[in-house]
Symmetry: C2
Subunit: 200 residues, 2 copies
Protein backbone atom coordinates (compact mmCIF):
# COMPACT_ATOMS: atom_id res chain seq x y z
CA UNK A 1 0.00 0.00 0.00
CA UNK A 2 3.00 2.28 0.10
CA UNK A 3 2.84 3.21 -3.56
CA UNK A 4 -0.77 4.21 -3.06
CA UNK A 5 0.08 6.46 -0.16
CA UNK A 6 3.26 7.83 -1.62
CA UNK A 7 1.19 9.03 -4.59
CA UNK A 8 -1.39 10.52 -2.22
CA UNK A 9 1.47 12.19 -0.36
CA UNK A 10 2.85 13.90 -3.44
CA UNK A 11 -0.61 14.87 -4.69
CA UNK A 12 -1.39 16.42 -1.30
CA UNK A 13 1.55 18.79 -1.85
CA UNK A 14 0.66 19.88 -5.37
CA UNK A 15 -1.40 18.65 -8.34
CA UNK A 16 0.54 16.48 -10.76
CA UNK A 17 0.08 14.27 -13.79
CA UNK A 18 1.15 10.63 -13.88
CA UNK A 19 4.17 11.72 -15.83
CA UNK A 20 5.11 14.33 -13.23
CA UNK A 21 4.72 11.73 -10.52
CA UNK A 22 7.09 9.34 -12.23
CA UNK A 23 9.78 12.01 -12.45
CA UNK A 24 9.17 13.08 -8.88
CA UNK A 25 9.54 9.51 -7.63
CA UNK A 26 12.78 9.09 -9.53
CA UNK A 27 14.19 12.33 -8.22
CA UNK A 28 13.21 12.23 -4.58
CA UNK A 29 12.39 8.79 -3.18
CA UNK A 30 14.22 6.41 -5.50
CA UNK A 31 16.65 5.49 -2.72
CA UNK A 32 13.88 3.79 -0.72
CA UNK A 33 10.90 3.44 -3.04
CA UNK A 34 11.01 3.03 -6.78
CA UNK A 35 7.88 3.18 -8.86
CA UNK A 36 7.18 1.66 -12.23
CA UNK A 37 5.50 4.02 -14.68
CA UNK A 38 2.72 1.56 -15.51
CA UNK A 39 2.13 0.99 -11.80
CA UNK A 40 1.67 4.72 -11.22
CA UNK A 41 -0.94 5.07 -13.95
CA UNK A 42 -2.82 2.02 -12.77
CA UNK A 43 -2.79 3.21 -9.18
CA UNK A 44 -4.06 6.64 -10.23
CA UNK A 45 -7.01 4.90 -11.88
CA UNK A 46 -7.70 2.92 -8.70
CA UNK A 47 -7.36 5.99 -6.49
CA UNK A 48 -9.77 7.90 -8.67
CA UNK A 49 -12.29 5.04 -8.58
CA UNK A 50 -12.01 5.13 -4.77
CA UNK A 51 -12.56 8.89 -4.61
CA UNK A 52 -9.08 9.51 -3.19
CA UNK A 53 -7.98 11.74 -6.07
CA UNK A 54 -9.69 13.75 -8.78
CA UNK A 55 -8.36 15.20 -12.00
CA UNK A 56 -8.70 18.03 -14.39
CA UNK A 57 -8.10 17.29 -18.05
CA UNK A 58 -5.75 19.74 -19.71
CA UNK A 59 -5.88 19.72 -23.49
CA UNK A 60 -2.62 19.77 -25.41
CA UNK A 61 -2.14 20.06 -29.12
CA UNK A 62 0.74 17.86 -30.08
CA UNK A 63 0.63 15.42 -27.12
CA UNK A 64 -1.98 13.40 -25.26
CA UNK A 65 -4.03 15.48 -22.83
CA UNK A 66 -2.53 15.84 -19.37
CA UNK A 67 -4.61 14.65 -16.47
CA UNK A 68 -3.75 16.88 -13.55
CA UNK A 69 -4.49 14.91 -10.38
CA UNK A 70 -5.02 16.29 -6.90
CA UNK A 71 -5.83 14.57 -3.58
CA UNK A 72 -9.40 14.91 -2.35
CA UNK A 73 -10.33 15.43 1.32
CA UNK A 74 -11.04 11.72 1.56
CA UNK A 75 -7.63 11.03 0.08
CA UNK A 76 -5.83 13.27 2.55
CA UNK A 77 -7.68 11.67 5.46
CA UNK A 78 -6.72 8.20 4.24
CA UNK A 79 -3.12 9.38 3.88
CA UNK A 80 -2.99 10.74 7.43
CA UNK A 81 -4.45 7.52 8.83
CA UNK A 82 -1.87 5.48 6.98
CA UNK A 83 1.04 7.72 7.98
CA UNK A 84 0.24 7.30 11.68
CA UNK A 85 -0.27 3.52 11.47
CA UNK A 86 2.67 1.25 12.38
CA UNK A 87 4.96 0.49 9.46
CA UNK A 88 4.96 -3.18 8.44
CA UNK A 89 8.24 -5.06 8.74
CA UNK A 90 9.60 -5.61 5.25
CA UNK A 91 11.89 -8.59 4.72
CA UNK A 92 15.16 -7.82 2.95
CA UNK A 93 15.74 -9.50 -0.39
CA UNK A 94 19.36 -9.51 -1.44
CA UNK A 95 20.40 -11.75 -4.31
CA UNK A 96 24.06 -10.83 -3.78
CA UNK A 97 23.92 -12.19 -0.24
CA UNK A 98 22.34 -15.40 -1.53
CA UNK A 99 25.31 -15.72 -3.87
CA UNK A 100 27.81 -15.01 -1.10
CA UNK A 101 26.08 -17.46 1.23
CA UNK A 102 26.78 -20.23 -1.27
CA UNK A 103 30.09 -18.80 -2.48
CA UNK A 104 31.90 -21.89 -1.23
CA UNK A 105 30.97 -23.34 -4.63
CA UNK A 106 32.61 -20.42 -6.41
CA UNK A 107 36.26 -19.75 -7.19
CA UNK A 108 37.85 -16.97 -5.07
CA UNK A 109 38.26 -14.96 -8.27
CA UNK A 110 34.60 -15.21 -9.19
CA UNK A 111 33.66 -14.08 -5.68
CA UNK A 112 35.98 -11.08 -5.99
CA UNK A 113 34.35 -10.16 -9.27
CA UNK A 114 30.95 -10.09 -7.57
CA UNK A 115 32.26 -7.97 -4.70
CA UNK A 116 34.02 -5.47 -6.95
CA UNK A 117 30.96 -5.04 -9.16
CA UNK A 118 28.89 -4.35 -6.06
CA UNK A 119 31.44 -1.86 -4.78
CA UNK A 120 31.29 -0.02 -8.11
CA UNK A 121 27.51 0.15 -7.87
CA UNK A 122 27.68 1.49 -4.31
CA UNK A 123 30.29 4.09 -5.24
CA UNK A 124 28.01 5.29 -8.02
CA UNK A 125 25.11 5.48 -5.60
CA UNK A 126 27.17 7.42 -3.08
CA UNK A 127 28.18 9.84 -5.83
CA UNK A 128 24.51 10.41 -6.63
CA UNK A 129 23.84 11.03 -2.94
CA UNK A 130 26.62 13.60 -2.83
CA UNK A 131 25.09 15.57 -5.69
CA UNK A 132 21.66 15.31 -4.14
CA UNK A 133 22.91 16.42 -0.73
CA UNK A 134 24.63 19.46 -2.22
CA UNK A 135 21.45 20.49 -4.00
CA UNK A 136 19.37 19.98 -0.86
CA UNK A 137 21.90 21.93 1.20
CA UNK A 138 21.55 24.97 -1.04
CA UNK A 139 17.77 24.69 -1.04
CA UNK A 140 17.75 24.58 2.74
CA UNK A 141 19.99 27.65 3.03
CA UNK A 142 17.81 29.75 0.74
CA UNK A 143 14.53 28.58 2.29
CA UNK A 144 12.36 30.31 4.88
CA UNK A 145 11.40 28.64 8.16
CA UNK A 146 8.25 27.12 6.72
CA UNK A 147 9.97 25.60 3.70
CA UNK A 148 12.75 24.30 5.95
CA UNK A 149 10.28 22.49 8.16
CA UNK A 150 8.84 20.73 5.12
CA UNK A 151 12.31 19.46 4.20
CA UNK A 152 12.90 17.61 7.45
CA UNK A 153 11.07 14.44 6.34
CA UNK A 154 12.91 14.12 3.03
CA UNK A 155 16.24 14.89 4.73
CA UNK A 156 15.67 12.20 7.34
CA UNK A 157 15.28 9.59 4.59
CA UNK A 158 18.38 10.96 2.90
CA UNK A 159 20.44 10.57 6.07
CA UNK A 160 19.19 6.99 6.23
CA UNK A 161 20.30 6.30 2.66
CA UNK A 162 23.73 7.84 3.21
CA UNK A 163 24.42 6.14 6.54
CA UNK A 164 23.35 2.71 5.31
CA UNK A 165 25.23 3.25 2.06
CA UNK A 166 28.40 4.04 4.00
CA UNK A 167 27.97 0.96 6.19
CA UNK A 168 27.38 -1.22 3.15
CA UNK A 169 30.43 0.19 1.42
CA UNK A 170 32.57 -0.32 4.53
CA UNK A 171 31.45 -3.97 4.67
CA UNK A 172 32.44 -4.50 1.03
CA UNK A 173 35.78 -2.74 1.43
CA UNK A 174 36.67 -4.77 4.48
CA UNK A 175 35.83 -8.01 2.65
CA UNK A 176 37.96 -7.05 -0.32
CA UNK A 177 40.86 -5.99 1.91
CA UNK A 178 40.73 -9.21 3.91
CA UNK A 179 40.55 -11.26 0.74
CA UNK A 180 43.72 -9.53 -0.45
CA UNK A 181 45.52 -10.03 2.87
CA UNK A 182 44.54 -13.68 3.04
CA UNK A 183 42.65 -13.02 6.29
CA UNK A 184 39.32 -14.02 4.79
CA UNK A 185 38.65 -16.81 7.26
CA UNK A 186 35.83 -18.03 9.49
CA UNK A 187 37.80 -17.19 12.65
CA UNK A 188 38.39 -13.65 11.49
CA UNK A 189 34.74 -13.15 10.58
CA UNK A 190 33.59 -14.45 13.95
CA UNK A 191 35.88 -12.09 15.84
CA UNK A 192 34.64 -9.21 13.67
CA UNK A 193 31.09 -10.15 14.59
CA UNK A 194 31.88 -10.41 18.30
CA UNK A 195 33.66 -7.07 18.28
CA UNK A 196 30.77 -5.37 16.49
CA UNK A 197 28.17 -6.76 18.88
CA UNK A 198 30.17 -6.08 22.03
CA UNK A 199 30.36 -2.33 21.44
CA UNK A 200 26.58 -2.64 21.92
Amino acid sequence: MSLRHAILGFLSIRPMSGYDLKRTFDQSVRHFWSADQAAIYRMLGDLEADGMVEYERIAQETRPDRKLFRATGTGRDALDMWLAAPAPAVPRREPLLVKLFFSGRLSPEATLVLLRAELDAVEAEMGAFKTYVEAMGERVESADANARASMVGPLVTLVNGVQLGLAYRAWLQRLLRDANDGTFTAENLVSQLRAALETQ
Copy 2:
Protein backbone atom coordinates in the same frame (compact mmCIF):
# COMPACT_ATOMS: atom_id res chain seq x y z
CA MET B 1 15.24 -16.28 -9.48
CA SER B 2 16.97 -16.18 -6.11
CA LEU B 3 14.47 -18.45 -4.37
CA ARG B 4 15.05 -20.99 -7.11
CA HIS B 5 18.80 -20.89 -6.67
CA ALA B 6 18.74 -20.68 -2.90
CA ILE B 7 16.78 -23.95 -2.92
CA LEU B 8 19.27 -25.45 -5.36
CA GLY B 9 22.06 -24.23 -3.09
CA PHE B 10 20.68 -25.97 -0.01
CA LEU B 11 19.83 -29.14 -1.94
CA SER B 12 23.38 -29.26 -3.30
CA ILE B 13 24.61 -29.51 0.31
CA ARG B 14 22.29 -32.26 1.45
CA PRO B 15 18.93 -33.80 0.44
CA MET B 16 15.95 -32.17 2.10
CA SER B 17 12.18 -32.15 2.06
CA GLY B 18 10.15 -28.99 1.46
CA TYR B 19 9.53 -28.89 5.17
CA ASP B 20 13.24 -29.10 5.96
CA LEU B 21 13.91 -26.33 3.47
CA LYS B 22 11.42 -24.01 5.11
CA ARG B 23 13.08 -24.49 8.50
CA THR B 24 16.52 -24.09 7.01
CA PHE B 25 15.55 -20.83 5.33
CA ASP B 26 14.11 -19.50 8.58
CA GLN B 27 17.20 -20.44 10.53
CA SER B 28 19.99 -19.38 8.22
CA VAL B 29 19.08 -16.83 5.57
CA ARG B 30 16.02 -15.07 7.01
CA HIS B 31 18.04 -11.88 7.50
CA PHE B 32 18.40 -11.41 3.73
CA TRP B 33 15.97 -13.82 2.08
CA SER B 34 12.71 -15.02 3.51
CA ALA B 35 10.75 -17.79 1.86
CA ASP B 36 7.06 -18.51 2.02
CA GLN B 37 6.21 -22.16 2.61
CA ALA B 38 3.81 -22.34 -0.31
CA ALA B 39 6.43 -20.71 -2.54
CA ILE B 40 8.98 -23.38 -1.62
CA TYR B 41 6.65 -26.25 -2.50
CA ARG B 42 5.65 -24.65 -5.77
CA MET B 43 9.26 -23.98 -6.69
CA LEU B 44 10.22 -27.58 -5.91
CA GLY B 45 7.56 -28.69 -8.36
CA ASP B 46 8.94 -26.35 -11.03
CA LEU B 47 12.54 -27.41 -10.37
CA GLU B 48 11.57 -31.04 -10.68
CA ALA B 49 9.72 -30.40 -13.95
CA ASP B 50 12.91 -28.72 -15.22
CA GLY B 51 15.12 -31.63 -14.18
CA MET B 52 17.04 -29.51 -11.66
CA VAL B 53 16.08 -31.66 -8.70
CA GLU B 54 14.84 -35.19 -8.18
CA TYR B 55 13.20 -36.82 -5.20
CA GLU B 56 12.83 -40.03 -3.35
CA ARG B 57 9.50 -40.69 -1.71
CA ILE B 58 9.83 -41.82 1.88
CA ALA B 59 6.71 -43.48 3.25
CA GLN B 60 5.55 -42.51 6.72
CA GLU B 61 2.75 -44.03 8.69
CA THR B 62 1.09 -41.25 10.56
CA ARG B 63 2.10 -38.34 8.32
CA PRO B 64 2.13 -37.55 4.61
CA ASP B 65 5.06 -39.13 2.77
CA ARG B 66 8.26 -37.10 2.78
CA LYS B 67 9.69 -36.20 -0.57
CA LEU B 68 13.42 -36.07 -0.11
CA PHE B 69 14.79 -33.76 -2.81
CA ARG B 70 18.35 -33.57 -4.07
CA ALA B 71 19.97 -31.42 -6.77
CA THR B 72 20.77 -33.18 -10.05
CA GLY B 73 23.94 -32.55 -12.06
CA THR B 74 21.94 -30.20 -14.27
CA GLY B 75 20.73 -28.41 -11.16
CA ARG B 76 24.23 -27.95 -9.77
CA ASP B 77 25.47 -26.64 -13.10
CA ALA B 78 22.62 -24.15 -13.27
CA LEU B 79 23.41 -23.10 -9.70
CA ASP B 80 27.08 -22.51 -10.46
CA MET B 81 26.23 -20.45 -13.54
CA TRP B 82 23.85 -18.31 -11.54
CA LEU B 83 26.28 -17.86 -8.65
CA ALA B 84 28.96 -16.46 -10.96
CA ALA B 85 26.58 -14.16 -12.86
CA PRO B 86 26.37 -10.50 -11.77
CA ALA B 87 23.79 -9.87 -9.03
CA PRO B 88 20.89 -7.69 -10.14
CA ALA B 89 20.44 -4.37 -8.37
CA VAL B 90 17.44 -4.67 -6.08
CA PRO B 91 15.55 -1.50 -5.25
CA ARG B 92 14.92 -0.92 -1.56
CA ARG B 93 11.30 -0.77 -0.44
CA GLU B 94 10.87 0.85 2.93
CA PRO B 95 7.37 1.84 3.99
CA LEU B 96 8.74 3.48 7.14
CA LEU B 97 10.83 5.85 5.04
CA VAL B 98 7.78 6.69 2.94
CA LYS B 99 6.03 7.64 6.17
CA LEU B 100 8.97 9.70 7.38
CA PHE B 101 9.28 11.43 4.01
CA PHE B 102 5.75 12.75 4.43
CA SER B 103 5.97 13.11 8.22
CA GLY B 104 5.41 16.86 7.90
CA ARG B 105 1.71 15.95 7.91
CA LEU B 106 2.11 14.05 11.17
CA SER B 107 2.28 15.34 14.74
CA PRO B 108 5.75 15.15 16.33
CA GLU B 109 4.33 12.63 18.82
CA ALA B 110 3.01 10.34 16.08
CA THR B 111 6.42 10.46 14.38
CA LEU B 112 8.15 9.53 17.63
CA VAL B 113 5.80 6.57 18.02
CA LEU B 114 6.84 5.31 14.60
CA LEU B 115 10.53 5.73 15.38
CA ARG B 116 10.32 4.03 18.77
CA ALA B 117 8.42 1.05 17.35
CA GLU B 118 11.09 0.68 14.70
CA LEU B 119 13.85 0.90 17.29
CA ASP B 120 12.17 -1.87 19.29
CA ALA B 121 12.03 -4.04 16.18
CA VAL B 122 15.71 -3.42 15.45
CA GLU B 123 16.74 -4.16 19.02
CA ALA B 124 14.89 -7.46 18.79
CA GLU B 125 16.65 -8.24 15.53
CA MET B 126 20.04 -7.41 17.01
CA GLY B 127 19.28 -9.70 19.93
CA ALA B 128 18.53 -12.52 17.51
CA PHE B 129 21.82 -11.81 15.73
CA LYS B 130 23.68 -12.02 19.02
CA THR B 131 22.30 -15.47 19.75
CA TYR B 132 23.04 -16.59 16.21
CA VAL B 133 26.59 -15.24 16.33
CA GLU B 134 27.31 -17.04 19.60
CA ALA B 135 26.08 -20.32 18.14
CA MET B 136 28.13 -19.83 14.99
CA GLY B 137 31.19 -18.91 17.02
CA GLU B 138 31.05 -22.20 18.90
CA ARG B 139 30.49 -24.16 15.70
CA VAL B 140 33.50 -22.51 14.11
CA GLU B 141 35.71 -23.29 17.10
CA SER B 142 34.81 -26.96 17.11
CA ALA B 143 35.04 -27.38 13.33
CA ASP B 144 37.90 -28.73 11.23
CA ALA B 145 39.51 -26.73 8.44
CA ASN B 146 37.11 -28.05 5.81
CA ALA B 147 33.98 -27.25 7.79
CA ARG B 148 35.37 -23.83 8.62
CA ALA B 149 35.87 -23.01 4.98
CA SER B 150 32.23 -23.84 4.28
CA MET B 151 31.14 -21.35 6.95
CA VAL B 152 32.81 -18.35 5.35
CA GLY B 153 29.90 -17.60 3.01
CA PRO B 154 27.23 -17.71 5.69
CA LEU B 155 29.43 -15.66 8.05
CA VAL B 156 29.95 -12.99 5.41
CA THR B 157 26.19 -12.51 5.13
CA LEU B 158 25.93 -12.41 8.90
CA VAL B 159 28.53 -9.65 9.13
CA ASN B 160 26.48 -7.76 6.57
CA GLY B 161 23.32 -8.12 8.62
CA VAL B 162 25.02 -7.04 11.84
CA GLN B 163 26.83 -4.05 10.34
CA LEU B 164 23.77 -2.74 8.55
CA GLY B 165 21.62 -3.40 11.60
CA LEU B 166 24.02 -1.37 13.74
CA ALA B 167 24.00 1.49 11.22
CA TYR B 168 20.23 1.44 11.06
CA ARG B 169 19.96 1.46 14.84
CA ALA B 170 22.43 4.33 15.10
CA TRP B 171 20.36 6.33 12.61
CA LEU B 172 17.20 5.77 14.67
CA GLN B 173 18.90 6.57 17.96
CA ARG B 174 20.33 9.80 16.61
CA LEU B 175 16.91 10.85 15.31
CA LEU B 176 15.27 10.15 18.65
CA ARG B 177 18.00 11.97 20.55
CA ASP B 178 17.81 15.02 18.29
CA ALA B 179 14.03 15.04 18.56
CA ASN B 180 14.42 15.13 22.34
CA ASP B 181 17.04 17.89 22.27
CA GLY B 182 14.97 20.00 19.88
CA THR B 183 17.79 19.81 17.31
CA PHE B 184 15.62 17.99 14.80
CA THR B 185 15.99 20.63 12.07
CA ALA B 186 16.79 20.81 8.38
CA GLU B 187 20.07 22.64 9.06
CA ASN B 188 21.19 20.00 11.50
CA LEU B 189 20.34 17.19 9.10
CA VAL B 190 22.21 18.86 6.26
CA SER B 191 25.34 19.27 8.34
CA GLN B 192 25.05 15.62 9.42
CA LEU B 193 24.89 14.65 5.75
CA ARG B 194 27.85 16.81 4.80
CA ALA B 195 29.93 15.47 7.65
CA ALA B 196 29.13 11.87 6.73
CA LEU B 197 29.99 12.36 3.06
CA GLU B 198 33.17 14.34 3.70
CA THR B 199 34.83 11.55 5.67
CA GLN B 200 34.61 9.78 2.28
